[in-house]
């Protein structure tokens, strides 16, 4: 194909977007609406995940050591803890330290004397994966020199359930919306191409090759996809910023508690635009190509 022909076909494709403005408007509208729905569901899911993740990170497990352990044995226990997986932020709290903290917090006269220290030596630590908390606690209990393990197993199982629900719910919503969007978009593109079947037919009779006919549709699909992606991206960005500012202004207790966990749009903007653009172009171009093919068999 000649360079001038290639340039001409690209020009025709871009011009087609404006010439068939009604159908272009419909295609862009449908694509944008679908991307907005999917994007919103995605943003909600990401934020809930971030908040749940934050709560998850706050977990604390306390491992109490046997009073009879000498310094070497305590060191061995420390080494054992460090060699275990799913564990981080291990901190040794001596019985003296605990007594001091307790006495500081206790009312005058209710504290313990140093000789009557009832507290054992302990290790404070966090687990990486809360869903494996029970398994990790069992392992901790099995270590030599450990007398007791305190772990937030009930809260952990709730958080794990919430996290799973968010993941499954979010993915399902995005998946269902994506399928609905695909069906609507496919029909919109189908109507667009159907309206121009005569045009395709004429092109075939004057000797146009399939590539010659398809290229403008390819360009058109790409332009429509990119326009819809850009529109959806900026609306989502604006809407998200507005919502965050509004909630910040409202100073609700829940929002203030998790304010730092709200994902800034800028941090995922590039990824979001990339996903929108890829999705838009893929659907625009793919859809056009599939439906144009049907009318090329003349």
């Amino acid at each position: 194909m000649r360079g001038s022909s290639f340039g001409y076909l690209i020009k025709v494709g871009v011009r087609s977007v404006f010439k068939n403005r009604l159908m272009s408007f419909a295609s862009i509208g449908v694509l944008t609406a679908c991307m907005l729905l999917i994007g919103s569901a995605g943003m909600l899911s990401l934020n809930v995940n971030s908040i749940v993740g934050y709560v998850e990170d706050q977990n604390e497990v306390v491992v109490f050591a046997d009073d009879n352990l000498d310094e070497d044995e305590l060191q061995n226990l420390d080494l054992d803890l460090h060699s275990m997986d799913n564990i981080r932020d291990i901190q040794f709290i001596s019985r003296e330290q605990t007594l001091e903290e307790f006495n500081e917090k206790s009312e005058e006269g209710l504290g313990f004397e140093e000789g009557d220290n009832p507290f054992p030596n302990a290790f404070r630590l966090s687990v990486d994966d809360l869903s494996r908390l029970s398994e990790t606690v069992t392992k901790l209990q099995g270590l030599e020199g450990v007398i007791e393990v305190n772990a937030p197993t009930d809260i952990a199982s709730t958080i794990v359930s919430v996290k799973q629900a968010v993941y499954i719910g979010g993915s399902s919503i995005v998946l269902i919306l994506a399928i609905v969007a695909l069906i609507i978009i496919a029909n919109t593109i189908k109507i667009t191409v159907f309206n121009r079947r005569k045009e395709i037919n004429i092109m075939k009779f004057v000797g146009a090759t399939d590539t010659f006919i398809k290229l403008p549709f390819f360009v058109e699909g790409m332009v429509l996809g990119l326009l819809a992606a850009s529109l959806a991206f900026f609306i989502l960005w604006g809407g998200y910023e507005y919502l965050v500012t509004w909630m910040d202004g409202n100073q609700s207790a829940l929002f203030m508690m998790f304010k730092d966990q709200i994902i800034p749009f800028e941090s995922i903007a590039l990824m979001m635009y990339g996903a929108f653009a890829a999705g838009g172009v893929l659907i625009g171009v793919g859809g056009s190509m599939i439906f144009v093919r049907k009318y090329l068999r003349v």
């Binding site: 001038s4 022909s5 005569k198 004429i202 092109m203 004057v206 000797g207 399939d210 010659f212």
Partner: protein
């Protein structure tokens, strides 16, 4: 079968049965030489449309041989079809102009598909439009033209590639009788410079006025093939 250089169209015992079971052509044998002007006439359902579809390689015969302009259409591969069609000029009853392109672009499109350079398009299109008397309507959109004008644009598009064969499928079917004469007269002029013209029509008056070869089709067969005055 030997195809002679002077043969433009060769149908040998061509039969066409559609999947529905309709027998559209029942053994058509005909030859049209280069430079001829031939009317193909026949009642509705006689097989004229199928014949045209065969000529354009829109349909392939169930049996028999179809050769057009040296191409064996039976053996033609799908990707060769566009190149074959570029050697023809086609005019349809419903004009088939691209509604989103103006007159100039509609005609130029036939050149663009053959990768003709822009400077040649700029030279050739106005010339062809002047031949059909529509140079002043170059920027008009098809919807702004009358039926006769639209058909002249379609004719210009068919001519712009200098085809050796023009196939006109009821080109006067959608236009006024006085303009019909004008269109056939244009085809007649084109034929005088050596282009083969095959025109399907059911307008007896036109056929009688132009006194050309007439092939009559009936029930998928050639009923008569006459070289001169009217009589069908």
């Amino acid at each position: 079968m030997v195809v002679y250089w002077f043969i433009m169209i060769n149908f040998t015992d061509v039969k066409k049965v559609y999947p529905s079971g309709t027998h559209a052509l029942n053994g058509i044998t005909l030859r049209i030489e280069k430079g001829e002007f031939v009317f193909i006439v026949g009642a509705s359902g006689a097989g004229k449309s199928t014949l045209i579809k065969m000529l354009l390689r829109e349909e392939v015969p169930s049996s028999g041989l179809v050769e057009v302009n040296g191409y064996n259409l039976n053996k033609m591969r799908r990707r060769q079809i566009p190149y074959f069609r570029r050697s023809l000029g086609v005019v349809f009853q419903d004009f088939r102009l691209i509604p989103t392109m103006n007159v100039y672009e509609n005609v130029a499109f036939a050149l663009r598909v053959t990768n003709v350079a822009n400077r040649d398009i700029k030279r050739r299109v106005p010339y062809i439009l002047s031949l059909v008397g529509l140079v002043h309507k170059a920027k008009s959109m098809p919807e702004q033209l009358s039926g006769g004008e639209q058909q002249r644009v379609a004719l210009a598009r068919a001519l712009v590639n200098n085809p050796q064969l023009i196939i006109a499928d009821e080109p006067t079917g959608n236009i006024d009788p006085e303009l019909s004469f004008e269109i056939v007269d244009l085809l007649n002029e084109i034929n005088k410079v050596g282009t083969t013209v095959v025109m399907v029509t059911h307008e007896h008056d036109l056929v009688q006025q132009f006194q050309r070869r007439v092939i009559t089709i009936e029930q998928g067969r050639v009923l008569s093939d006459t070289a001169a005055l009217g009589g069908f």
